[in-house]
């Protein structure tokens, strides 16, 4: 059985690193138009989603919860200029779903930018927004986000599940890194980022319970920490998580003393911003996996005790 302390400490250290490097969550207002202003919104949106999970699960220590709250506040006020940058992005690319995807977690945490919400509601009426070509798992996520926002999802999520790789339960030996990221995100969207594990249909939960051990083993040995962390989140979303001891110990051992989690093998070298751009995601994932697994361990303990 994996030590709860070990699982928990990964998240504590990850949050310390994210707070210490909060200025890495930055936008580029003078960006080359070919790159696009919205490109740098992804890290901010992911941070908000994970911090929301951390505050929601309620298993973080007071220090972790405080850091999550401060990171949310910092990025809303400073990075996003109180949501003004989201409005600006929406005006540059009116039917891009990115401002909406970033905004949702902030809205759920009590932040508000009515001007952006008007654009979201208008976009929701557009055939073009619904037809915007994205990967099936992201389309599933967009509908899930519309539901969370209070809109009627277009298309309905039930119509989208079967368009994903995971829902077809394909041959498990064909999984590649790219496929694995798709399937982890399908799980995230079906469960509202771990909030509703019951959102994962039993058929898919059985499939994952059968094959996840093989994938954890593989990406642990490949030292792909970013993907391994996402797979550990998937484990925590299953009806009976395994808290795979070897995977968790390897994952924890890869984490740096300051809390940074390398994406692949060991820490990259380079300018601070370059290093941030490579490791912020695996470090966020480490915080996510830690809080989800800690929450499930404590839930199981509570059930055992009662």
């Amino acid at each position: 059985m994996t030590s709860t302390r070990l699982i928990h400490s990964v998240g504590v250290r990850a949050m310390e690193w994210l707070w210490a490097h909060r200025d890495g969550f930055r936008l580029d207002v003078d960006v080359d138009p070919d790159v696009g202003f919205l490109e740098r919104f992804k890290p901010v949106g992911e941070l908000a989603l994970i911090c929301k999970v951390l505050l929601r699960e309620g298993v973080a220590g007071s220090r972790q919860a405080e850091l999550a709250r401060r990171l949310i506040d910092h990025t809303w006020r400073d990075t996003l200029d109180g949501g003004g940058m989201l409005v600006r992005g929406q005006r540059i690319e009116p039917i891009s779903p990115i401002p909406f995807e970033v905004y949702l977690a902030y809205k759920e945490l009590g932040y508000s930018r009515p001007e952006l919400e008007r654009a979201i509601v208008l976009n929701h009426r557009l055939e073009s927004w619904t037809s915007y070509e994205v990967a099936p798992t992201r389309r599933l996520g967009l509908s899930a986000f519309q539901r969370r926002f209070g809109l009627v999802p277009r298309p309905p999520e039930a119509d989208l599940v079967d368009t994903t790789w995971l829902a077809r339960t394909p041959e498990p030996w064909t999984v590649t890194t790219r496929i694995a990221y798709h399937l982890t995100h399908t799980v995230f969207h079906l469960t509202d980022w771990g909030e509703r594990p019951e959102g994962l249909p039993p058929r898919l939960a059985d499939y994952l319970a059968t094959w996840l051990p093989a994938w954890l083993d593989d990406w642990l040995d490949l030292e792909r920490w970013d993907l391994l962390g996402e797979l550990l989140v998937v484990d925590a979303c299953l009806p009976r998580p395994t808290f795979d001891e070897r995977a968790w110990e390897g994952f924890a051992a890869a984490q740096q003393p300051d809390g940074a989690m390398p994406a692949v093998r060991s820490m990259p070298e380079g300018e601070p911003d370059e290093v941030f751009d490579i490791v912020y995601h695996p470090t966020l994932v480490a915080a996510f996996a830690s809080v989800m697994a800690t929450s499930r361990v404590l839930t199981e303990l509570a059930h055992t005790a009662s």
Partner: protein, 236 residues
């Protein structure tokens, strides 16, 4: 250098034997090993070690197609069994592999009335697989793929039968690692097991392993063995 040169020659001899078995399993020629014995060639002294390395699978076509090996073939097989006895302190997989050869030998050394020789109990148990992780279990089973023969149960078979999902996970792991030899061996075992999850896609998986690794006759042997066993199962 001499050591590695000998190793390479032995591997080559094993592959040659395996190619013969593959051909026989495909319905072509039978395996010929006897001619090499006594020949004055650099590899002649590698025939017996190669037969020992390939193990009971040398006579697999005879087992699966229920035909009798010719006397010379059987003599070489017997000589390999006797020349390389498994020591009591050898690894369990080595001892089981040797037992598999002895079992095959007895099968064909029929009593005068035509009844097959009786199996003797193996002198090795499966304790080393008790509680083994699915990774190690699959690796060991793949090494012992020669034991995966329909209608030839033993204690190792029982372990495999009790853990179909674990062997299926091991197959996935082996394919992901491009360890075609292990994947092919695990795939052969899975052909015999009940309870293998359908989504594994075993049949396509075996074809995939052959496509990717079938240039190695030892891989092709396991795949072809699995195919013949599947076909036999479908008929039965």
């Amino acid at each position: 250098m001499e050591q590695s040169g000998t190793t390479a020659l032995l591997q080559g001899a094993v592959q040659d034997l395996a190619s013969g078995v593959v051909s026989a399993l495909r319905g072509g020629d039978h395996v010929t090993v006897s001619g090499a014995i006594g020949e004055d060639t650099p590899t002649a002294n590698l025939v017996l070690p190669a037969v020992r390395v390939l193990g009971a699978d040398l006579l697999l076509p005879r087992v699966l197609f229920r035909s009798q090996p010719d006397l010379a073939e059987l003599a070489v097989f017997r000589k390999a069994v006797e020349s390389f006895p498994a020591r009591a302190d050898a690894a369990p997989a080595v001892r089981w592999s040797h037992w598999a050869m002895r079992r095959t030998l007895r099968r064909f050394e029929a009593a005068p009335d035509g009844a097959p020789g009786q199996d003797t109990a193996p002198d090795v148990d499966t304790d080393w697989l008790e509680g083994a992780g699915w990774q190690y279990l699959t690796h060991q089973l793949a090494v012992l793929a020669a034991l995966a023969v329909p209608g030839e149960a033993c204690a190792v078979t029982e372990v495999a039968r009790s853990r179909p999902v674990d062997v299926a996970r091991g197959f996935v792991r082996a394919v992901r690692r491009r360890d075609w030899q292990q994947a092919a061996g695990a795939g052969r075992w899975l052909t015999l097991l009940d309870g293998v999850p359908a989504e594994l896609g075993l049949e396509t998986g075996l074809d995939f392993v052959e496509l990717m690794g079938g240039g190695d006759p030892r891989v092709a042997l396991q795949i072809q063995a699995a195919r013949v066993m599947r076909a036999a199962g479908a008929v039965a």
